[in-house]
Amino acid sequence: MALIAVIDDDPDIVETTTMVLKSKGYDVVSASNPDDGYDVIKDESPDLIILDVIMVEPDDGFFLAQRLRRDGIKTPILMYTSISKATGIQYDKNEMIPVDEFLEKPVSPDTLVEKVKALLEKGGA
């Protein structure tokens, strides 16, 4: 079964996301900051990364995604954030944000699972 890394500084989000994913049969590893996240990804080689944007710093998620891509890690990344596009700050996947999917929180279990499935199929896992 596919292994998913959840990297988010909100322990409640990590707990519920983990629980939902596990109930669908996925294996989950997690981290609460970008440095631990990087280590977990290096050590565990997950099939998919679910990554929050604002952790210790407001752009931690972007930097971690860039760092992973620089290291040649091509694992699909599903990025999610509570930043609202309605505030005029436009964030989406682009060259500066090398991710495969960008979602606004909260993400319902159905949407999450649907996106995870799609990305895993695309990634060939």
Binding site: D9, D10, I13, T16, S23, I54, S82, T87, P109
Partner: protein, 497 residues
């Protein structure tokens, strides 16, 4: 023009002639004065203002030619005639050279004299009129020049840049501010200016020049001339049409809106942070509820209860945050309703510490509380002061270590009541210190994992202190603790002691 009597001066050493001419002229309505010699003649002619003077050429004291010269020097508009019995070609030339109007041969008939003098008077009047007109014209020119220089002074003094480009794209007018904003050292007039302008501005001006029929109204555009909000200019282009409707040029006004853009950027950042902070607890709570509802998770009752409790807790923190934000907004808009009265600081501090009794006991924190005797009161809203110290002491407890100490001291310091709140807690890293009072700043490190907060507490503290013209200072060492000193002005009557 109401004509005054023409004034004539007769200079002649021959008394009979003087009197004869005087009588004749007076009959013709002249105002006549006489002089019996050259010196007296010069004296009278230069101190009065005569229309015409009749000067005898041969006088014993002063020669008529010299008299003429001296009169002309001082009174160039007095029309002079030389009268002589011995006309010589040389003296005639000399007299004319010196500005005599004419030559009158003695003896002369009444008509001859009158005819000559009348011409002289007319000439003199025409000359005066022309001089007056000339002076008027010069004054107007001067006025115009002053007006032009005044306009230039005004335009040059404007903080806004002004640049006028003609239909050929040449700069025909600009002020120093325009050069500064556009980063140009110099722009000579009549020089093709378009190529020297920033791309966006050039395109905007070109639209007016190339298709004047399409662009007939003013257009403003914001130009980020330097990145990172260093220089943003709002350029407003207004077409200047010729009377026939064709384009004469474009007037460009350049307004520096850098500060405005910077504030706008900060506001956007703030709004985006607020929305993130508000959405995070909502997302977490929805996450808990969705996990409970998801049939696949198949949660046991205990986990379900724990999740619901967490959801309630997150929503409560959301509520606190919303209230804090509303308070900040009220403080910012200065619409907070205040009830100012004499506030006893020592009492408030004591009450506040007792609020945290349970947490203090749980963490086994030693409390060291002391206030100076007869501490002066401060004039303030009691709720706000309570809020201020609740936030400070709450942090000092929350971020303290197990078995640490909390020191609270209040004493008078000049015109202020100074309250010290010291903890032996997490402390701040150097880079965190300048962010301490910013909204949503929360120290995130290995020690602060389980500590909750909105990140608005210290921002509220700072706003309250500032609103009373007080000051807040702090010292902090990472891993050792933080000391705050809040100074609030004491009551005016108690300051002089």
């Amino acid at each position: 023009m109401t004509e005054a009597k023409p004034k004539a001066l007769v200079i002649d050493d021959e008394e009979l002639l003087r009197l004869g001419v005087k009588r004749l002229l007076e009959l013709e309505d002249y105002d006549v004065d006489v002089a019996s010699g050259g010196v007296e003649g010069v004296e009278k002619a230069t101190s009065g203002d005569f229309d015409v003077a009749l000067i005898d050429l041969k006088m014993p004291d002063l020669d008529g030619v010299e008299v003429l010269r001296r009169i002309r020097e001082k009174r160039p508009h007095t029309v002079c005639y030389i009268a002589t019995a011995y006309a010589s070609y040389e003296t005639a030339v000399e007299a004319t050279r010196l500005g005599a109007q004419g030559y009158i041969l003695k003896p002369f008939t009444d008509d001859e004299l009158l005819d000559q003098l009348e011409k002289g008077v007319r000439k003199r009047r025409l000359e005066l009129e022309s001089a007056r007109l000339r002076q008027e014209r010069e004054e107007r020119m001067l006025e115009l020049a002053t007006e032009r220089s005044r306009l230039k002074t005004v335009v040059n003094a404007l903080a806004d840049g002004v640049l006028v480009v003609n239909y050929e794209g040449k700069a025909v007018y600009y002020n120093p501010a325009a050069l500064t904003y556009l980063g140009l050292d110099d722009l000579s007039l009549e020089e093709p200016a378009l190529d020297k302008l920033p791309e966006e501005l050039r395109r905007l001006i070109s639209q007016y020049l190339d298709e004047p029929e399409k662009r007939t109204t003013a257009v403003s555009k914001q130009l980020a001339l330097k990145p990172n909000y260093e220089l943003t200019i709002e350029a407003t282009c207004t077409p200047a049409p010729n009377p026939d409707g064709s384009i004469a040029g474009v007037v460009v006004a350049l307004k520096n809106i850098t500060e405005l853009k910077r504030i706008e950027h900060l506001k956007n950042q703030f709004v985006s942070m607020v929305s993130h902070e508000l959405k995070a607890p909502v997302a977490a709570s929805i996450g808990f509820l969705n996990t409970i509802l998801d049939p696949d998770t198949n949660l046991d009752e205990e986990t379900q209860t724990r999740f619901m409790e967490r959801a309630v807790s997150r929503l409560n923190s959301l509520l606190t945050m919303v209230n804090d934000l509303l308070d900040i907004s009220r403080m910012e808009l200065k619409t907070a309703v205040r009830e100012l009265k004499e506030v006893n600081l020592a009492e408030i501090l004591e009450e506040t510490i007792s609020l945290f009794k349970m947490d203090i006991e749980k963490k086994q924190i030693g409390v060291d509380f002391e206030t100076e005797e007869n501490l002066p009161t401060i004039t303030a809203d009691e709720n706000e002061v309570q809020r201020l110290f609740t936030n400070l002491i709450s942090n000092a407890v929350k971020y303290n270590r197990q078995g640490g100490t909390l020191v609270v001291r209040a004493k008078r310091a000049g015109a202020y009541a100074a309250t010290t709140v010291r903890d032996t807690g997490v402390g701040l890293k150097p880079e965190e210190k300048k962010k301490l009072f910013s909204e949503f700043f929360r120290a995130k490190n290995e020690f602060t994992k389980g500590i909750h907060g909105t990140g608005l507490g210290m921002s509220i503290v700072k706003r309250i202190v500032d609103s009373y013209s007080g000051k807040i200072e702090f010292e902090s060492e990472y891993g050792a603790g933080t000391t705050f000193v809040v100074s609030l002005p004491i009551r005016r009557e108690e300051r002089e002691e």
